[in-house]
Amino acid sequence: MDKVSHIQFVEDLAAKLGLTEEETVKKLTELILIIKMESESGKMIIDGLGIFTTKGKILTFIPDESFELEINHNYAGMMPVEIEEPKPGTAASSAKTQKEDDNTEESDAVTDDFEEEEFVDVIDEQDPFDLDDDETGTESTSSSKSTGEKSGDYTSDAAEKARKAALEAEEQKIKEDEEEQEEAARKAELEAQAEEKKKEDATAALAARKAGESEKARAEAGKVKALEKEAAEKKKAESKERAETASEKSADKLSGSRAATDEEIRPEWVEPEAETAQKVRSDGKKPAIKEIPAYDRARPDSNTGTIIAILVAAVVVVAGALYLFGFLTVSEPATTTSPVISEQTEVPPASTDLPGIEDTETGISATEQLAQEEAARDVTAQPAPAVDDQPAAPSAETQQTPAPVRETAAPAASYGLRGTMNTTMARPYTIVVHSLTSRTDAEREAAVVAEAGYRSTWFRVELPNGSVRWRVSIGQFASSDAAVEAARQLPEPYSANNFISRIESYNP
Protein backbone atom coordinates (compact mmCIF):
# COMPACT_ATOMS: atom_id res chain seq x y z
CA MET A 1 0.00 0.00 0.00
CA ASP A 2 1.18 3.49 -0.80
CA LYS A 3 1.90 5.57 2.24
CA VAL A 4 1.77 9.29 2.62
CA SER A 5 4.12 10.45 5.31
CA HIS A 6 3.63 13.51 7.44
CA ILE A 7 6.13 15.45 5.35
CA GLN A 8 4.48 14.47 2.11
CA PHE A 9 1.11 15.42 3.47
CA VAL A 10 2.42 18.83 4.50
CA GLU A 11 3.93 19.35 1.08
CA ASP A 12 0.63 18.45 -0.52
CA LEU A 13 -1.23 20.85 1.72
CA ALA A 14 1.24 23.62 1.09
CA ALA A 15 0.86 23.18 -2.61
CA LYS A 16 -2.91 23.34 -2.38
CA LEU A 17 -2.94 26.40 -0.19
CA GLY A 18 -0.02 28.20 -1.79
CA LEU A 19 1.73 28.42 1.55
CA THR A 20 5.19 27.58 2.61
CA GLU A 21 5.81 24.31 4.35
CA GLU A 22 6.60 26.09 7.61
CA GLU A 23 3.33 28.00 7.50
CA THR A 24 1.51 24.82 6.64
CA VAL A 25 3.10 22.90 9.51
CA LYS A 26 2.15 25.68 11.89
CA LYS A 27 -1.49 25.69 10.79
CA LEU A 28 -1.64 21.91 10.83
CA THR A 29 -0.33 21.76 14.37
CA GLU A 30 -2.95 24.30 15.47
CA LEU A 31 -5.69 22.17 13.88
CA ILE A 32 -4.46 18.99 15.56
CA LEU A 33 -4.49 20.71 18.96
CA ILE A 34 -8.04 21.88 18.41
CA ILE A 35 -9.14 18.38 17.37
CA LYS A 36 -7.62 16.86 20.50
CA MET A 37 -9.07 19.47 22.79
CA GLU A 38 -12.51 19.32 21.28
CA SER A 39 -12.62 15.56 21.18
CA GLU A 40 -11.61 15.33 24.81
CA SER A 41 -14.43 17.62 25.76
CA GLY A 42 -16.94 15.95 23.48
CA LYS A 43 -16.47 15.67 19.76
CA MET A 44 -14.84 17.52 16.92
CA ILE A 45 -16.76 17.51 13.64
CA ILE A 46 -15.08 18.30 10.33
CA ASP A 47 -17.64 18.47 7.56
CA GLY A 48 -17.00 16.03 4.78
CA LEU A 49 -14.35 14.23 6.80
CA GLY A 50 -15.80 12.83 10.01
CA ILE A 51 -16.08 13.06 13.77
CA PHE A 52 -13.21 12.88 16.25
CA THR A 53 -14.05 11.76 19.76
CA THR A 54 -12.15 10.46 22.72
CA LYS A 55 -13.10 7.18 24.37
CA GLY A 56 -11.08 6.31 27.43
CA LYS A 57 -8.34 8.77 26.54
CA ILE A 58 -8.09 7.19 23.11
CA LEU A 59 -8.81 9.35 20.13
CA THR A 60 -11.27 7.80 17.71
CA PHE A 61 -12.46 8.80 14.28
CA ILE A 62 -15.82 8.06 12.64
CA PRO A 63 -15.75 8.90 8.94
CA ASP A 64 -18.37 11.10 7.41
CA GLU A 65 -21.06 9.25 5.43
CA SER A 66 -20.03 10.83 2.15
CA PHE A 67 -16.40 10.03 2.81
CA GLU A 68 -17.21 6.44 3.64
CA LEU A 69 -19.37 6.06 0.56
CA GLU A 70 -16.60 7.46 -1.59
CA ILE A 71 -14.17 4.92 -0.26
CA ASN A 72 -16.67 2.08 -0.47
CA HIS A 73 -17.82 2.93 -3.99
CA ASN A 74 -17.12 -0.57 -5.21
CA TYR A 75 -19.56 -2.17 -2.84
CA ALA A 76 -21.91 0.64 -2.04
CA GLY A 77 -25.52 -0.44 -1.72
CA MET A 78 -24.81 -4.14 -1.60
CA MET A 79 -27.21 -6.02 0.58
CA PRO A 80 -26.61 -9.07 2.75
CA VAL A 81 -27.67 -12.21 0.93
CA GLU A 82 -29.66 -14.70 2.92
CA ILE A 83 -28.01 -18.08 2.85
CA GLU A 84 -30.92 -19.91 4.43
CA GLU A 85 -34.52 -19.09 3.81
CA PRO A 86 -36.64 -18.31 6.87
CA LYS A 87 -39.03 -21.05 7.87
CA PRO A 88 -42.63 -20.19 7.10
CA GLY A 89 -44.55 -18.90 10.04
CA THR A 90 -41.51 -17.90 12.04
CA ALA A 91 -40.86 -14.45 13.36
CA ALA A 92 -37.90 -14.20 11.06
CA SER A 93 -40.06 -14.99 8.11
CA SER A 94 -42.61 -12.35 8.91
CA ALA A 95 -39.94 -9.82 9.71
CA LYS A 96 -38.25 -10.54 6.43
CA THR A 97 -41.45 -10.15 4.52
CA GLN A 98 -42.10 -6.86 6.18
CA LYS A 99 -38.62 -5.68 5.34
CA GLU A 100 -38.93 -6.61 1.74
CA ASP A 101 -42.22 -4.87 1.50
CA ASP A 102 -40.93 -1.71 3.03
CA ASN A 103 -37.71 -1.83 1.03
CA THR A 104 -35.89 -0.16 3.86
CA GLU A 105 -32.20 0.23 4.16
CA GLU A 106 -30.81 -2.65 6.10
CA SER A 107 -27.29 -3.08 4.92
CA ASP A 108 -25.62 -0.74 7.31
CA ALA A 109 -27.86 -1.63 10.20
CA VAL A 110 -27.12 -5.27 9.83
CA THR A 111 -23.49 -4.80 9.10
CA ASP A 112 -22.87 -2.78 12.22
CA ASP A 113 -24.18 -5.59 14.36
CA PHE A 114 -21.49 -7.98 13.32
CA GLU A 115 -18.00 -8.55 14.49
CA GLU A 116 -15.88 -7.71 11.50
CA GLU A 117 -12.37 -7.41 12.82
CA GLU A 118 -11.31 -10.84 11.64
CA PHE A 119 -12.37 -10.01 8.15
CA VAL A 120 -10.60 -6.72 7.94
CA ASP A 121 -7.83 -6.48 5.41
CA VAL A 122 -5.84 -3.50 4.50
CA ILE A 123 -6.67 -2.45 0.98
CA ASP A 124 -3.26 -3.00 -0.46
CA GLU A 125 -4.22 -5.20 -3.34
CA GLN A 126 -5.40 -4.36 -6.78
CA ASP A 127 -8.89 -3.05 -7.02
CA PRO A 128 -10.99 -6.14 -7.55
CA PHE A 129 -13.25 -4.28 -9.91
CA ASP A 130 -10.35 -2.60 -11.64
CA LEU A 131 -11.99 0.78 -11.68
CA ASP A 132 -10.47 3.80 -13.24
CA ASP A 133 -10.06 6.91 -11.18
CA ASP A 134 -12.74 8.71 -13.09
CA GLU A 135 -15.19 6.02 -12.12
CA THR A 136 -14.98 6.82 -8.47
CA GLY A 137 -17.29 9.72 -8.84
CA THR A 138 -20.97 9.26 -8.45
CA GLU A 139 -23.65 9.54 -11.03
CA SER A 140 -26.49 11.45 -9.51
CA THR A 141 -30.10 10.83 -10.21
CA SER A 142 -32.39 13.67 -9.37
CA SER A 143 -35.45 11.49 -9.15
CA SER A 144 -33.96 9.03 -6.75
CA LYS A 145 -35.16 9.14 -3.18
CA SER A 146 -34.79 5.53 -2.29
CA THR A 147 -33.29 4.63 1.04
CA GLY A 148 -32.18 1.14 0.10
CA GLU A 149 -30.69 -0.74 -2.74
CA LYS A 150 -33.08 -1.21 -5.54
CA SER A 151 -32.06 -3.14 -8.56
CA GLY A 152 -33.45 -1.39 -11.57
CA ASP A 153 -37.15 -1.75 -12.21
CA TYR A 154 -37.46 -5.08 -10.55
CA THR A 155 -40.78 -6.01 -9.05
CA SER A 156 -42.25 -9.28 -7.86
CA ASP A 157 -44.45 -9.20 -10.95
CA ALA A 158 -41.42 -9.41 -13.14
CA ALA A 159 -40.26 -12.56 -11.43
CA GLU A 160 -43.72 -14.05 -11.70
CA LYS A 161 -43.85 -13.23 -15.40
CA ALA A 162 -40.49 -14.82 -15.90
CA ARG A 163 -41.68 -18.00 -14.21
CA LYS A 164 -44.82 -18.07 -16.29
CA ALA A 165 -42.86 -17.52 -19.46
CA ALA A 166 -40.55 -20.39 -18.57
CA LEU A 167 -43.50 -22.68 -17.89
CA GLU A 168 -45.19 -21.75 -21.13
CA ALA A 169 -42.02 -22.31 -23.09
CA GLU A 170 -41.64 -25.73 -21.50
CA GLU A 171 -45.21 -26.70 -22.33
CA GLN A 172 -44.83 -25.54 -25.90
CA LYS A 173 -41.73 -27.60 -26.28
CA ILE A 174 -43.39 -30.72 -24.90
CA LYS A 175 -46.28 -30.23 -27.28
CA GLU A 176 -43.98 -29.89 -30.24
CA ASP A 177 -42.08 -33.01 -29.25
CA GLU A 178 -45.31 -34.99 -29.05
CA GLU A 179 -46.36 -33.82 -32.48
CA GLU A 180 -43.00 -34.79 -33.92
CA GLN A 181 -43.26 -38.24 -32.37
CA GLU A 182 -46.73 -38.77 -33.78
CA GLU A 183 -45.58 -37.72 -37.20
CA ALA A 184 -42.62 -40.07 -37.03
CA ALA A 185 -44.90 -42.92 -35.94
CA ARG A 186 -47.27 -42.36 -38.85
CA LYS A 187 -44.39 -42.24 -41.28
CA ALA A 188 -42.85 -45.42 -39.88
CA GLU A 189 -46.18 -47.23 -40.04
CA LEU A 190 -46.65 -46.42 -43.69
CA GLU A 191 -43.16 -47.55 -44.49
CA ALA A 192 -43.66 -50.74 -42.56
CA GLN A 193 -46.80 -51.60 -44.44
CA ALA A 194 -45.04 -51.17 -47.74
CA GLU A 195 -42.08 -53.24 -46.62
CA GLU A 196 -44.27 -55.99 -45.26
CA LYS A 197 -46.09 -56.29 -48.52
CA LYS A 198 -42.82 -56.52 -50.43
CA LYS A 199 -41.53 -59.11 -48.04
CA GLU A 200 -44.62 -61.28 -48.35
CA ASP A 201 -44.46 -61.17 -52.10
CA ALA A 202 -40.82 -62.16 -52.14
CA THR A 203 -41.40 -64.92 -49.59
CA ALA A 204 -44.23 -66.41 -51.55
CA ALA A 205 -42.33 -66.32 -54.80
CA LEU A 206 -39.32 -68.01 -53.29
CA ALA A 207 -41.38 -70.65 -51.54
CA ALA A 208 -43.12 -71.47 -54.77
CA ARG A 209 -39.83 -71.89 -56.55
CA LYS A 210 -38.34 -74.11 -53.86
CA ALA A 211 -41.47 -76.18 -53.62
CA GLY A 212 -41.47 -76.65 -57.35
CA GLU A 213 -37.88 -77.93 -57.32
CA SER A 214 -38.48 -80.44 -54.58
CA GLU A 215 -41.61 -81.62 -56.29
CA LYS A 216 -39.66 -82.36 -59.40
CA ALA A 217 -37.33 -84.67 -57.51
CA ARG A 218 -40.13 -86.46 -55.79
CA ALA A 219 -42.03 -86.72 -58.98
CA GLU A 220 -39.18 -88.79 -60.52
CA ALA A 221 -39.39 -91.37 -57.76
CA GLY A 222 -43.14 -91.35 -57.89
CA LYS A 223 -43.03 -92.06 -61.58
CA VAL A 224 -41.23 -95.36 -61.07
CA LYS A 225 -43.72 -96.46 -58.49
CA ALA A 226 -46.60 -95.22 -60.50
CA LEU A 227 -45.66 -97.48 -63.43
CA GLU A 228 -46.14 -100.50 -61.19
CA LYS A 229 -49.59 -99.47 -60.18
CA GLU A 230 -52.65 -100.64 -61.90
CA ALA A 231 -54.35 -98.43 -64.44
CA ALA A 232 -57.49 -98.61 -62.44
CA GLU A 233 -55.81 -97.28 -59.35
CA LYS A 234 -54.21 -94.55 -61.44
CA LYS A 235 -57.57 -93.51 -62.72
CA LYS A 236 -58.89 -93.48 -59.19
CA ALA A 237 -56.01 -91.33 -57.99
CA GLU A 238 -56.52 -88.96 -60.84
CA SER A 239 -60.13 -88.53 -60.01
CA LYS A 240 -59.24 -87.83 -56.35
CA GLU A 241 -56.55 -85.38 -57.33
CA ARG A 242 -58.97 -83.49 -59.46
CA ALA A 243 -61.36 -83.30 -56.58
CA GLU A 244 -58.61 -81.96 -54.29
CA THR A 245 -57.52 -79.38 -56.82
CA ALA A 246 -61.03 -78.20 -57.11
CA SER A 247 -61.39 -77.87 -53.34
CA GLU A 248 -58.09 -76.02 -53.13
CA LYS A 249 -59.17 -73.51 -55.68
CA SER A 250 -62.28 -72.83 -53.74
CA ALA A 251 -60.27 -72.51 -50.56
CA ASP A 252 -57.87 -70.07 -52.19
CA LYS A 253 -60.69 -67.88 -53.25
CA LEU A 254 -61.82 -67.64 -49.66
CA SER A 255 -58.39 -66.98 -48.19
CA GLY A 256 -58.33 -63.24 -48.87
CA SER A 257 -54.89 -61.73 -49.28
CA ARG A 258 -53.32 -65.15 -49.37
CA ALA A 259 -55.11 -65.92 -52.64
CA ALA A 260 -52.88 -63.69 -54.69
CA THR A 261 -49.81 -65.39 -53.30
CA ASP A 262 -51.17 -68.82 -54.10
CA GLU A 263 -51.93 -67.76 -57.63
CA GLU A 264 -48.28 -66.89 -58.09
CA ILE A 265 -47.21 -70.23 -56.74
CA ARG A 266 -49.63 -72.35 -58.72
CA PRO A 267 -48.06 -72.12 -62.19
CA GLU A 268 -44.94 -73.92 -61.01
CA TRP A 269 -46.79 -76.25 -58.72
CA VAL A 270 -48.94 -77.62 -61.50
CA GLU A 271 -46.06 -78.52 -63.76
CA PRO A 272 -46.82 -81.74 -65.57
CA GLU A 273 -44.17 -83.81 -63.83
CA ALA A 274 -45.04 -82.59 -60.40
CA GLU A 275 -48.66 -83.01 -61.08
CA THR A 276 -48.10 -86.57 -62.14
CA ALA A 277 -46.06 -87.37 -59.08
CA GLN A 278 -48.63 -85.85 -56.86
CA LYS A 279 -51.32 -87.83 -58.50
CA VAL A 280 -49.36 -91.00 -57.84
CA ARG A 281 -48.23 -90.17 -54.31
CA SER A 282 -51.50 -88.94 -53.04
CA ASP A 283 -52.71 -92.45 -53.61
CA GLY A 284 -55.87 -92.19 -51.73
CA LYS A 285 -54.51 -89.70 -49.20
CA LYS A 286 -55.99 -86.29 -49.12
CA PRO A 287 -53.54 -83.43 -48.41
CA ALA A 288 -54.64 -81.08 -45.69
CA ILE A 289 -54.55 -78.04 -47.85
CA LYS A 290 -56.39 -75.73 -45.56
CA GLU A 291 -54.05 -76.34 -42.66
CA ILE A 292 -50.77 -76.09 -44.50
CA PRO A 293 -49.26 -72.75 -45.60
CA ALA A 294 -48.80 -71.98 -49.24
CA TYR A 295 -45.21 -73.17 -49.45
CA ASP A 296 -46.17 -76.49 -47.79
CA ARG A 297 -49.07 -77.10 -50.04
CA ALA A 298 -46.63 -77.33 -52.90
CA ARG A 299 -45.14 -80.32 -51.09
CA PRO A 300 -48.11 -82.37 -49.92
CA ASP A 301 -46.23 -85.34 -48.48
CA SER A 302 -44.28 -83.09 -46.03
CA ASN A 303 -41.63 -85.47 -44.88
CA THR A 304 -40.36 -83.64 -41.81
CA GLY A 305 -40.94 -80.41 -39.96
CA THR A 306 -37.24 -79.66 -40.16
CA ILE A 307 -37.30 -79.35 -43.89
CA ILE A 308 -40.21 -77.01 -43.63
CA ALA A 309 -38.44 -74.93 -41.04
CA ILE A 310 -35.33 -74.82 -43.17
CA LEU A 311 -37.33 -73.73 -46.12
CA VAL A 312 -39.09 -71.08 -44.10
CA ALA A 313 -35.82 -69.77 -42.76
CA ALA A 314 -34.24 -69.85 -46.17
CA VAL A 315 -37.15 -68.01 -47.64
CA VAL A 316 -37.03 -65.35 -44.98
CA VAL A 317 -33.28 -64.93 -45.24
CA VAL A 318 -33.30 -64.78 -49.00
CA ALA A 319 -36.22 -62.40 -48.98
CA GLY A 320 -34.38 -60.17 -46.57
CA ALA A 321 -31.26 -60.35 -48.69
CA LEU A 322 -33.24 -59.58 -51.78
CA TYR A 323 -34.75 -56.59 -50.13
CA LEU A 324 -31.49 -55.34 -48.79
CA PHE A 325 -29.41 -55.73 -51.86
CA GLY A 326 -32.06 -54.99 -54.37
CA PHE A 327 -31.77 -58.23 -56.27
CA LEU A 328 -34.86 -59.84 -57.61
CA THR A 329 -33.31 -63.17 -58.50
CA VAL A 330 -32.41 -66.00 -56.16
CA SER A 331 -28.83 -66.80 -56.96
CA GLU A 332 -27.92 -68.91 -53.95
CA PRO A 333 -29.81 -71.72 -52.34
CA ALA A 334 -30.48 -71.26 -48.67
CA THR A 335 -28.01 -73.14 -46.54
CA THR A 336 -29.13 -72.00 -43.15
CA THR A 337 -28.72 -74.71 -40.59
CA SER A 338 -30.64 -73.22 -37.71
CA PRO A 339 -33.91 -71.84 -38.91
CA VAL A 340 -35.22 -70.59 -35.62
CA ILE A 341 -32.12 -68.67 -34.80
CA SER A 342 -31.75 -67.36 -38.29
CA GLU A 343 -35.17 -65.88 -38.13
CA GLN A 344 -34.15 -63.83 -35.09
CA THR A 345 -30.60 -63.02 -35.96
CA GLU A 346 -30.34 -62.74 -39.67
CA VAL A 347 -33.53 -60.95 -40.39
CA PRO A 348 -33.00 -57.91 -38.20
CA PRO A 349 -32.67 -55.55 -41.11
CA ALA A 350 -36.23 -56.40 -41.97
CA SER A 351 -37.47 -56.46 -38.39
CA THR A 352 -35.87 -53.12 -37.57
CA ASP A 353 -37.80 -51.69 -40.44
CA LEU A 354 -41.07 -52.77 -38.96
CA PRO A 355 -42.58 -50.06 -36.86
CA GLY A 356 -44.68 -51.01 -33.90
CA ILE A 357 -42.50 -53.95 -33.06
CA GLU A 358 -40.85 -53.66 -29.72
CA ASP A 359 -37.20 -54.43 -29.57
CA THR A 360 -36.74 -57.29 -27.13
CA GLU A 361 -33.28 -56.22 -26.05
CA THR A 362 -33.70 -52.56 -25.61
CA GLY A 363 -37.38 -52.38 -24.91
CA ILE A 364 -37.61 -49.48 -27.30
CA SER A 365 -40.47 -49.51 -29.73
CA ALA A 366 -39.77 -49.18 -33.39
CA THR A 367 -41.41 -45.80 -33.41
CA GLU A 368 -39.06 -44.52 -30.78
CA GLN A 369 -36.23 -46.25 -32.48
CA LEU A 370 -37.00 -44.54 -35.73
CA ALA A 371 -37.15 -41.20 -34.04
CA GLN A 372 -33.86 -41.86 -32.33
CA GLU A 373 -32.26 -42.97 -35.53
CA GLU A 374 -33.44 -39.86 -37.23
CA ALA A 375 -32.03 -37.78 -34.43
CA ALA A 376 -28.76 -39.68 -34.65
CA ARG A 377 -28.61 -39.14 -38.36
CA ASP A 378 -29.20 -35.46 -37.89
CA VAL A 379 -26.36 -35.18 -35.45
CA THR A 380 -23.85 -37.60 -36.87
CA ALA A 381 -24.76 -37.03 -40.51
CA GLN A 382 -24.49 -40.73 -41.17
CA PRO A 383 -26.41 -42.02 -44.17
CA ALA A 384 -29.35 -44.29 -43.51
CA PRO A 385 -28.04 -47.25 -45.54
CA ALA A 386 -25.12 -47.54 -43.16
CA VAL A 387 -27.56 -48.29 -40.39
CA ASP A 388 -29.61 -50.68 -42.46
CA ASP A 389 -26.56 -52.66 -43.46
CA GLN A 390 -25.86 -53.50 -39.88
CA PRO A 391 -27.64 -56.33 -38.15
CA ALA A 392 -28.98 -56.32 -34.62
CA ALA A 393 -25.97 -55.20 -32.64
CA PRO A 394 -25.13 -52.10 -34.61
CA SER A 395 -28.79 -51.29 -34.67
CA ALA A 396 -28.83 -51.33 -30.90
CA GLU A 397 -25.85 -49.02 -30.87
CA THR A 398 -27.66 -46.69 -33.15
CA GLN A 399 -30.56 -46.66 -30.78
CA GLN A 400 -28.33 -45.76 -27.88
CA THR A 401 -26.34 -43.12 -29.67
CA PRO A 402 -28.91 -40.31 -29.51
CA ALA A 403 -29.16 -40.39 -25.75
CA PRO A 404 -25.96 -38.49 -24.92
CA VAL A 405 -26.52 -36.25 -27.90
CA ARG A 406 -29.83 -35.20 -26.47
CA GLU A 407 -28.20 -34.51 -23.14
CA THR A 408 -25.63 -32.26 -24.67
CA ALA A 409 -28.33 -30.48 -26.60
CA ALA A 410 -30.30 -29.80 -23.45
CA PRO A 411 -31.83 -26.36 -23.18
CA ALA A 412 -29.74 -23.71 -21.48
CA ALA A 413 -32.03 -23.71 -18.50
CA SER A 414 -29.46 -25.10 -16.11
CA TYR A 415 -27.39 -23.03 -13.76
CA GLY A 416 -23.73 -22.51 -14.27
CA LEU A 417 -20.74 -20.31 -14.70
CA ARG A 418 -20.44 -20.54 -18.44
CA GLY A 419 -22.78 -20.32 -21.37
CA THR A 420 -25.51 -17.86 -22.09
CA MET A 421 -27.45 -15.97 -19.47
CA ASN A 422 -30.93 -17.39 -19.11
CA THR A 423 -33.14 -14.39 -18.53
CA THR A 424 -36.15 -16.53 -17.61
CA MET A 425 -34.61 -17.48 -14.29
CA ALA A 426 -36.05 -15.61 -11.36
CA ARG A 427 -33.59 -14.19 -8.85
CA PRO A 428 -30.65 -16.54 -9.36
CA TYR A 429 -27.47 -16.04 -7.37
CA THR A 430 -24.60 -14.48 -9.25
CA ILE A 431 -21.03 -13.30 -8.75
CA VAL A 432 -20.58 -9.55 -8.99
CA VAL A 433 -17.19 -8.64 -10.40
CA HIS A 434 -17.60 -5.02 -11.47
CA SER A 435 -19.33 -1.98 -10.01
CA LEU A 436 -19.25 0.95 -12.35
CA THR A 437 -20.72 4.41 -12.59
CA SER A 438 -21.22 4.22 -16.33
CA ARG A 439 -23.66 1.97 -18.11
CA THR A 440 -21.43 1.99 -21.17
CA ASP A 441 -18.53 0.74 -19.11
CA ALA A 442 -20.72 -1.97 -17.62
CA GLU A 443 -21.80 -3.15 -21.04
CA ARG A 444 -18.20 -3.17 -22.18
CA GLU A 445 -17.00 -5.14 -19.15
CA ALA A 446 -19.89 -7.58 -19.49
CA ALA A 447 -18.89 -8.15 -23.09
CA VAL A 448 -15.31 -8.82 -22.00
CA VAL A 449 -16.50 -11.37 -19.49
CA ALA A 450 -18.78 -12.97 -22.05
CA GLU A 451 -15.96 -13.25 -24.54
CA ALA A 452 -14.09 -15.26 -21.95
CA GLY A 453 -16.92 -17.80 -22.10
CA TYR A 454 -18.76 -16.81 -18.98
CA ARG A 455 -22.43 -16.07 -18.84
CA SER A 456 -22.55 -12.47 -17.80
CA THR A 457 -24.99 -9.68 -17.30
CA TRP A 458 -25.12 -6.17 -15.93
CA PHE A 459 -27.76 -4.50 -13.87
CA ARG A 460 -28.54 -1.11 -12.44
CA VAL A 461 -28.36 -0.40 -8.73
CA GLU A 462 -29.60 2.71 -7.04
CA LEU A 463 -27.57 3.68 -4.00
CA PRO A 464 -28.91 5.23 -0.80
CA ASN A 465 -27.42 8.61 -1.66
CA GLY A 466 -29.22 8.64 -4.98
CA SER A 467 -26.29 7.73 -7.12
CA VAL A 468 -26.43 4.87 -9.57
CA ARG A 469 -24.11 1.93 -10.09
CA TRP A 470 -23.96 -0.55 -12.91
CA ARG A 471 -22.79 -3.91 -11.79
CA VAL A 472 -21.42 -6.70 -13.91
CA SER A 473 -21.87 -10.25 -12.72
CA ILE A 474 -20.91 -13.74 -13.79
CA GLY A 475 -22.97 -16.91 -13.72
CA GLN A 476 -26.36 -18.04 -12.48
CA PHE A 477 -26.62 -20.32 -9.48
CA ALA A 478 -29.38 -21.97 -7.53
CA SER A 479 -27.75 -21.34 -4.17
CA SER A 480 -25.24 -19.01 -2.62
CA ASP A 481 -23.02 -21.98 -1.81
CA ALA A 482 -22.86 -22.92 -5.46
CA ALA A 483 -22.01 -19.35 -6.33
CA VAL A 484 -19.27 -19.18 -3.68
CA GLU A 485 -17.81 -22.43 -4.95
CA ALA A 486 -17.88 -21.18 -8.52
CA ALA A 487 -16.29 -17.89 -7.50
CA ARG A 488 -13.28 -19.84 -6.26
CA GLN A 489 -12.80 -21.19 -9.75
CA LEU A 490 -12.70 -17.78 -11.34
CA PRO A 491 -9.37 -16.51 -12.64
CA GLU A 492 -7.75 -13.30 -11.59
CA PRO A 493 -8.73 -10.56 -11.17
CA TYR A 494 -12.24 -11.90 -10.55
CA SER A 495 -11.27 -14.49 -7.96
CA ALA A 496 -9.40 -11.99 -5.78
CA ASN A 497 -12.52 -10.13 -4.86
CA ASN A 498 -16.10 -10.47 -5.75
CA PHE A 499 -19.42 -10.62 -4.11
CA ILE A 500 -22.33 -13.01 -4.25
CA SER A 501 -25.56 -11.28 -5.01
CA ARG A 502 -28.88 -12.05 -6.64
CA ILE A 503 -30.08 -10.89 -10.03
CA GLU A 504 -33.30 -9.06 -9.38
CA SER A 505 -33.84 -8.03 -12.97
CA TYR A 506 -32.12 -8.46 -16.27
CA ASN A 507 -31.06 -5.69 -18.53
CA PRO A 508 -33.37 -5.14 -21.45
Binding site: M1, L31, I58, E82, I83, F114, E125
Partner: protein, 64 residues
Protein backbone atom coordinates in the same frame (compact mmCIF):
# COMPACT_ATOMS: atom_id res chain seq x y z
CA UNK B 1 -10.08 28.35 13.01
CA UNK B 2 -8.95 28.72 9.39
CA UNK B 3 -11.82 27.43 7.32
CA UNK B 4 -9.81 27.48 4.14
CA UNK B 5 -7.11 25.40 5.75
CA UNK B 6 -9.66 22.99 7.16
CA UNK B 7 -11.15 22.45 3.72
CA UNK B 8 -7.72 21.86 2.24
CA UNK B 9 -6.91 19.44 5.05
CA UNK B 10 -10.11 17.52 4.38
CA UNK B 11 -9.60 17.32 0.63
CA UNK B 12 -5.98 16.28 0.89
CA UNK B 13 -6.81 13.57 3.38
CA UNK B 14 -9.84 12.29 1.47
CA UNK B 15 -8.13 12.13 -1.88
CA UNK B 16 -5.18 10.21 -0.53
CA UNK B 17 -7.26 7.69 1.39
CA UNK B 18 -9.69 7.24 -1.47
CA UNK B 19 -6.77 6.41 -3.70
CA UNK B 20 -5.92 3.65 -1.28
CA UNK B 21 -3.07 5.46 0.41
CA UNK B 22 -2.34 5.44 4.11
CA UNK B 23 -1.82 8.92 5.54
CA UNK B 24 0.23 9.52 8.66
CA UNK B 25 -0.07 12.83 10.46
CA UNK B 26 2.29 13.51 13.32
CA UNK B 27 0.52 14.36 16.56
CA UNK B 28 -2.77 12.93 15.33
CA UNK B 29 -2.55 9.42 13.91
CA UNK B 30 -2.82 7.36 10.72
CA UNK B 31 -5.74 7.08 8.35
CA UNK B 32 -5.77 3.84 6.45
CA UNK B 33 -8.25 2.36 4.01
CA UNK B 34 -9.14 -1.25 4.77
CA UNK B 35 -11.11 -3.91 2.99
CA UNK B 36 -13.56 -6.11 4.84
CA UNK B 37 -14.10 -9.37 3.03
CA UNK B 38 -17.48 -10.89 2.50
CA UNK B 39 -18.33 -13.22 5.29
CA UNK B 40 -21.15 -15.16 6.83
CA UNK B 41 -23.03 -13.69 9.74
CA UNK B 42 -26.43 -13.76 11.34
CA UNK B 43 -28.87 -10.99 10.82
CA UNK B 44 -31.29 -9.56 13.36
CA UNK B 45 -33.73 -12.41 12.77
CA UNK B 46 -31.07 -15.02 13.43
CA UNK B 47 -30.81 -16.07 9.82
CA UNK B 48 -27.49 -16.78 8.21
CA UNK B 49 -26.57 -14.16 5.69
CA UNK B 50 -23.61 -13.45 3.49
CA UNK B 51 -22.36 -9.98 4.28
CA UNK B 52 -21.10 -7.97 1.36
CA UNK B 53 -17.50 -6.84 1.30
CA UNK B 54 -16.81 -3.29 2.27
CA UNK B 55 -14.06 -0.72 1.96
CA UNK B 56 -13.79 1.60 4.93
CA UNK B 57 -11.36 3.79 6.85
CA UNK B 58 -9.37 2.72 9.84
CA UNK B 59 -7.93 5.38 12.13
CA UNK B 60 -5.10 4.58 14.46
CA UNK B 61 -4.31 7.39 16.92
CA UNK B 62 -0.70 8.25 17.47
CA UNK B 63 1.00 6.54 20.36
CA UNK B 64 -1.09 3.37 20.26
Amino acid sequence: MDKKFNNAFREALRSSVTEGKSVSISGLGTFKPVHIKQHEAENEEGLKVLMPPRDTIEFTPEGT
